[in-house]
């Protein structure tokens, strides 16, 4: 009984979500000003053939700086977690 109810609620939820999503314009965005600007001017302004790289590293360079910092911090965290214990140091058990 509970499983049936759960399935019905799930079906209703995803059905509603799909119904709402069907109305969204997909592949035909209304505002393409930004895309057109990048496609037209990226090569001339950055000199890079790869428009994706020119966006990631030039137009949105500050964002990529944050990404690189996040990676650095993640590696720091892994290094702290997997470090060797010092002499006489014990794992905390509780």
């Amino acid at each position: 009984m509970r499983n049936v109810l759960f399935s019905a609620i799930l079906l209703l939820f995803f059905g509603g979500l799909l119904y709402l999503a069907a109305d969204l314009p997909f592949g035909d965005p209304l505002r393409t000003d930004m895309d057109d600007y990048f496609i037209r001017n990226a090569q001339a302004q950055t000199g890079a053939n790869n428009v994706v790289t020119s966006i990631v590293f030039d137009f949105r360079g500050f964002d990529t700086l944050g990404e690189a910092t996040v990676l650095f911090t993640a590696v720091l965290g892994v290094g702290m977690m997997f470090r060797k214990l010092k002499e006489g140091e014990e794992y905390e058990n509780d």
Binding site: G47, A48, N49, T53, T64, L65, E67, V75, G79
Partner: protein, 156 residues
Amino acid sequence: MKMTKIVRTTADLFFPFCLVFGLYVVVHGHLTPGGGFQGGAVMATGTALLLVARAYDDVTGRIRKGAMKVCEAAGLLIFLCAGFSGLFAGRPFMANWLAPDGALFRTSIAHGPNAGDLNTAGLLPLLNVGVGIEVLGGLTVILLYMLSGIKEEKKK
């Protein structure tokens, strides 16, 4: 744990090609799909290959953890220095001041499809190389830390 000789030889054979292909993806980041992040990940894959084919102690002789830590920090420093270099040229932070008429990577390209020249895009190759070195170092350090438990099993 050690794999058979066939696997070990294949891994040894593929390791340099992994590095070279990753370097290619990094250096051609402004021309072809890919870039610093992707190329660095490809290079770190070589380490993973060696680690699963050989024992951990066998690999640390070739790939040193300390050197990889230095790589990681150096990559981020290259990125930051390249970003701050715009300030000295009288442009904003992270501005691509090399692109139109700098000293390096200055060849201008035609609009639309073209053959592609490595010597273009101003600051982007430098940033790509910085990120590539950082990702190579970071992922390799993570792999070495997490797979350091792989040791040769002693038969009782």
